[in-house]
Symmetry: C2
Subunit: 415 residues, 2 copies
C-alpha cells in the first residue's frame, strides 16, 4: 500500500488539551511510517488547506511534539471558519480535494466540535463522489461538552476542573471577608447553549449551604424575582453568596441576559457581561456589595490545572483517529465510552460522523436540582470522574514551559 500523507487541522475555540490530541495524532502517525508519510498541519485550521498554507510537522523534534501534550492553545493555529453547504460552496470543497491531491494527502483528521464534524463528513462524501480516496476522521474537541454520543468531549474536563477549583478558592476568600466587605461574588463561565461548565462549578461544594450557592444555567429560564429572593436568603443564612453564571443564561423569552450584539464567523452571538448584569441587579435591588470575575479565555487555556483524565482522553482520541484510519475506517469520530462511574473506567469507541455533525447535546434536566439552582447527585456522578488527577506541565523560571513549534511551511505546489 502506498504511503500517503496526513492533513491535520484544529478548528474552532481551542482548549487546554487540543494539542494533546495533536500529539496523539502525530506520535501515532510517526509509529506507522510504512503507511503514513508526513503529517501536515493546517496553518490556522482549515484555512491552511484552502490557502495551501500547511506546516510540516516532520520538521519538529520528538521532544517538541511530546511537549504538545502539556501545551495549551492551538499549536498550528485554529480557525472559526465554517464551510457552507456543498451546494452553496462546492468550489471550496473541491479546492480542499485539489490541495490534498497535490500533496498526496490520504488522511484528513479534523479536530473540532460539531461544525467541524460536519465539514469532515462532507469532505468524506465529496471524496467518494469525486473518486478521490480520502479517509476523514473527526477528532472531538470542545470545552462546551456538547457533542452527542461521546460520553464527554476532550477539553471539557480541564475547564470543569478549572472552574471547580476557582470557585472553591474564590469562595474561601469571600467567606473570610463577608462580615465587612463583599457579600455576593459572581463568577461568569463559558457555555453558550449548555450549562455543562457552570454545572462543573457545582463540584466545588456539597449541598445548598456550601458554595457555589446558586448556579444560573442556560437551560433554566432566569427568574429575576426568585433569584433575588434566593440571594437574600443565602446571605442571611451564610453571610455571603457565591453565584456561578453561564454566559448563556437567558430569560423566559430565550433572550441572553447579556447580549453584546456582535456575532462570530459561525453566526453565533458574541456574549459577555452577564456577571455585571447580575451584579448590578444585586446591588440595585438588595443593596449588597459585590465582586465579579470573568474567567473568559483563562478557563479554557488553563493547562496548569488541567485534568489528568482529560489530557489522557485528548491524547487517546488523537491516537485512535490514526489507528482507526489505518484499520480502514472512514467518516467516523472516535469517542469516549464510559464503562463505569466508580471506579471510573472508559474506553475509546467510534461513531459515524453523520450522527454527530451539527447536533448539540444539552445537559439533561435531571442533572439540575428541582429548584434550578444546583446540580444533582446524578450530575456529580457524571462530572466527578472528568476532573480527576493533576497533570502539571513542567516549569522553568517559575512559569509553565510551553513549547513553541518551528511551524516550518510545506512548499506550495499550486498556483
Amino acid at each position: 500500500m502506498a504511503r500517503r500523507n496526513v492533513f491535520y487541522a484544529q478548528s474552532g475555540g481551542v482548549t487546554a488539551v487540543i494539542n494533546a490530541s495533536a500529539c496523539g495524532v502525530i506520535e501515532t502517525a510517526r509509529r506507522h511510517r510504512d503507511r503514513i508519510g508526513k503529517v501536515y498541519a493546517g496553518r490556522n485550521g482549515i484555512l491552511g488547506a484552502l490557502h495551501e498554507d500547511m506546516i510540516d510537522t516532520s520538521r519538529e523534534t520528538v521532544r517538541a511534539i511530546a511537549a504538545l501534550r502539556h501545551t495549551p492553545g492551538g499549536a498550528f493555529g485554529s480557525a472559526r471558519y465554517k464551510l457552507k453547504p456543498i451546494e452553496e460552496s462546492r468550489a471550496e470543497y473541491e479546492r480542499l480535494i485539489e490541495v490534498f491531491d497535490a500533496h498526496n494527502i490520504g488522511y484528513f483528521f479534523y479536530n473540532g466540535g460539531g461544525d467541524s464534524m460536519d465539514t469532515a463528513h462532507k469532505v468524506a462524501q465529496l471524496g467518494r463522489e469525486l473518486g478521490y480516496p480520502i479517509t476523514c476522521i473527526g477528532v472531538p474537541k470542545t470545552v462546551d461538552n456538547d457533542l452527542p454520543v461521546t460520553d464527554c468531549c476532550p477539553g471539557f474536563g480541564s475547564v470543569a476542573k478549572y472552574v471547580a477549583v476557582s470557585t472553591r478558592e474564590a469562595a474561601l476568600d469571600v467567606a473570610s471577608m463577608a462580615r465587612t466587605s463583599t457579600r455576593v461574588f459572581i463568577l461568569e463561565v463559558m457555555g453558550r447553549h449548555a450549562g455543562w461548565i457552570a454545572a462543573a462549578a457545582g463540584l466545588a461544594g456539597q449541598g445548598a449551604d456550601e458554595p457555589p450557592h446558586l448556579i444560573l444555567f442556560p437551560e433554566i429560564p432566569f427568574d429575576r424575582k426568585g433569584f433575588l429572593r434566593r440571594v437574600q436568603q443565602c446571605v442571611e443564612r451564610n453571610e455571603y453568596c457565591v453565584i456561578v453564571v453561564s454566559e448563556g443564561a437567558r430569560d423566559a423569552d430565550g433572550h441572553f441576559l447579556a447580549d453584546a450584539g456582535t456575532r462570530d464567523a459561525f453566526g453565533h452571538k458574541q456574549l459577555g457581561g452577564v456577571a455585571q448584569e447580575i451584579a448590578t441587579m444585586v446591588r440595585d435591588e438588595l443593596g449588597l456589595k459585590y465582586h465579579y470575575a470573568i474567567a473568559d479565555y483563562l478557563q479554557r487555556s488553563a493547562r496548569h490545572i488541567a485534568s489528568a483524565v482529560d489530557v489522557e482522553q485528548a491524547y487517546a482520541v488523537g491516537r485512535a483517529a490514526v489507528e482507526l484510519a489505518l484499520a480502514g475506517q472512514n467518516a467516523i469520530m472516535p469517542c469516549i465510552v464510559r464503562k463505569s462511574d466508580r471506579p471510573y473506567r472508559w474506553v475509546i469507541g467510534q461513531v459515524p460522523l453523520s450522527r454527530v455533525a451539527n447536533r448539540e447535546k444539552k445537559m439533561p434536566r435531571r442533572f439540575i436540582t428541582r429548584d434550578g439552582y444546583g446540580i444533582t447527585a446524578a450530575a456529580r456522578r457524571y462530572l466527578e470522574p472528568l476532573i480527576q488527577g493533576e497533570d502539571y506541565p513542567p516549569y522553568r523560571a517559575g512559569l509553565p514551559d510551553y513549547v513553541h513549534l518551528r511551524n516550518h511551511p510545506v512548499t506550495k505546489k499550486l498556483a
Copy 2:
C-alpha cells in the same frame, strides 16, 4: 516568666498564603509552651477582639493547623475595619486592651497591610501608656506589594505567579485564533495604586513582540490616542494584541478609567470594569474583535498555583513574629530582606512599625519601560525570584483539599 496568650488576627483582603502566616504563628507558638499559653484568633479579624469573639486555636489538631499552610482565604475571617486615630476613638483601643487583659493576652500579632501596621503600632503605644504589657508585632501581608521597607510582601508572589501564568496561557489561546476570531485580549488585574501585579504579568513574555504586548500601569497616565495607535500597530505586526490592565489605571487628571463610585470601609473607591472600558474603546475606535477576562478574587485566592517562595516567606514572617516577640522585641514587623537576585537569597529582618504604618511603596519608574507599556530588565530581576517554585496543595476527588477549621469559640468573660 508567666505564660501569656496570643491574640492573632487577619486584616484586610485575604491572600492565597495568609493562612501560611497563621500556620507559622501557631506552630511556632506551640513550640514555646513554656512562655506562650494559647493562640486565640480574632473571628473576622480585629472585630473579634472588639466583640470578644475569639477562636481557640488550641482546639485544632496538629494536622489541621499544618493544612493552613496550603489553604487560601482567611481561616478565621478577616475584616476591612480600620480603627480611627486614638484621639477620635480612644474607647475602641481601650476596649482592645480590656479584652486582652480579660484573656491574659500578652502578644498581639496583626497580619495585614499598611493600615493594620498602623493599628498594631497604636496598640503598642496605648499599652505602654496604660501600663498594660502587650507585645505588638505586625505580620506583613498584601497582594498589592505596597508595604515599605520589606523587599516584598507575602501574598504578592502568588498573585504575581497567577497573573504571569494566566497571561501566558490566555495569550497562546488568542494567538491560535487571531486570524478569524479575537484580535485583542484584555486581562484586568488588581493593584489599586501600584502596578506591581500588572508588572508581574510582564514575566509571561520577553520583549515587545511577546505577550503581554501592552501593560497599563496606574503609575503611567493613560494616553488614549497613543494607546490605540500601539494596539493597532501590534495587531498589524503580530495579528493579535494581549493587554494587561491594572484596575488602578487612570487618566492624566488622576481619574480611574473605571470608577464604580462606591467606597469600601477604608474609604477606598471600589473599582471594576476597566477591562470593559478598554475593550469598548478598542472596538469603537479600531473595529477589532475583543475578549476580556477579569481575574478579581481568583487571582488572590489561587493557592493551586501559589509561588513556593511566597508560601515559604508567608510562613517565615509568621514564625519570626513569635520568635521576635519572645526575644523581647515590640512594635516591629518582620520583613523580607533580599541578599541577592541570582541566585535568589533572602533572610528575615525587622523594621519598627512606625516606619511601615500608613506608607505606600509605589513601583519605581525605572521598572517601567520608557514608553510606559512594559517592564524593564530591572523589574524582571526584582520580580522573577518571587514566582519561583510550585507548592501544590494536596488534592482529593480532583479538587484541592483545603482545611475548614472547627473555629471553636473562646468563652466570653466580659459583658
